[in-house]
């Protein structure tokens, strides 16, 4: 009986130590986990998994030359209120896996620029990540998103 009591004490002690070290060692991952909704794809949280950012000026140049496809990851309502001229709307909540994007008619030859509502919005990152996983090689995320594009007086439309 005494040995079972000792066993319980030791087991609880070991679990506490492992939990403290585990949490402390992975504190950055826990913060990211709290910030992102990554639909069960844990590898999204890896440092090098996040797509590159592109500034609004670089994006505009590509837009002028017609070398990029802009994908708006915001909701349909937000998209209708105003979006980058020629952008297509793929709300993040309409995508469940990279496979869904493979089935869409998106050109593989152009640079894809995903954007959302700027600031803290994360949906363009998920969308870009899913696009990469779906096999699109040149995917970027627009820094500052839609508000930055709009503030700079760049071409936009409503519908």
């Amino acid at each position: 009986m005494r040995n079972f009591l000792k066993l319980t004490k030791e087991a609880v002690f070991i679990l506490i130590i492992a939990s403290i070290i585990g949490v402390f060692f992975n504190i950055n991952l826990i913060r990211k986990y709290a910030d992102y909704d990554f639909k069960g794809d844990f590898l999204f949280l890896e440092e090098d998994a996040l797509p590159e950012l592109i500034t609004v000026y670089e994006a505009e140049e590509l837009w002028q030359r017609g070398e990029a496809i802009f994908i708006d990851s915001r909701s349909e309502e937000e998209f209708k209120k105003g979006h980058i001229l020629g952008a297509i709307n793929i709300p993040l909540n309409s995508i469940n896996s990279p496979q869904d994007l493979k089935n869409m008619d998106i050109s593989q030859d152009k640079i894809i620029i995903a954007y959302c509502s700027g600031g803290d919005c994360k949906s363009s990152f998920y969308l870009a990540y899913f696009l990469q996983k779906a096999g699109f090689r040149n995917v970027k995320v627009l820094e500052g998103g839609w508000p930055k594009w709009f503030e700079n007086g760049l071409p936009w439309e409503k519908n």
Binding site: F4, V12, I14, G22, F25, F42, L43
Partner: protein, 138 residues
């Protein structure tokens, strides 16, 4: 009596080293391990995440304790419990006919198959032996 003592010492070292190695391979890639757990399609996402952060450290600490002879009761209890759960998971994967990586040693991929089940059953019996002998100790 003495030979039994050496036998327990030998399996403590063996199981300890295996779990130290197993823990380290997971600690260096917690997200990969979380994904491996998720691939079993048994627990919700947040359990996969938290398990991937804590279980590798539990393996490492228990492995070190077994190797060094500290808190042998507690560490052999955890190792036996973990192996028991792993065995149940392996059986469920085999029964469902899934083809997934076991996630046992991080980057060293190993598919879930009958040999893995056999390995874990052997390890489980060894760790139970350590646990029982530690409980008999005064």
């Amino acid at each position: 009596m003495k030979s039994k003592k050496y036998f327990i010492l030998a399996i403590r070292i063996l199981v300890g080293l295996i779990f130290i190695f197993s823990g380290i391979t997971k600690i260096i890639n917690p997200l990969g391990f979380a994904q491996d757990i998720q691939n079993y399609q048994i627990v919700p996402e947040f359990i996969s995440f938290w398990t991937a952060l804590i279980l590798p450290w539990l393996e490492l600490i228990c492995g070190i304790f077994l190797l060094t002879g500290i808190l042998v009761r507690g560490s052999s209890f955890w190792i036996s419990s973990m192996l028991f759960v792993f065995i149940l998971l392996i059986i469920s994967v085999l029964v469902r006919g899934q083809e997934i990586d076991c996630g046992c040693f991080g980057f060293i991929g190993h598919k879930v198959d009958w040999t893995l089940l056999l390995q874990d059953l052997i390890l489980f019996s060894l760790s139970l032996t350590i646990l029982v002998s530690s409980l008999k100790r005064k």
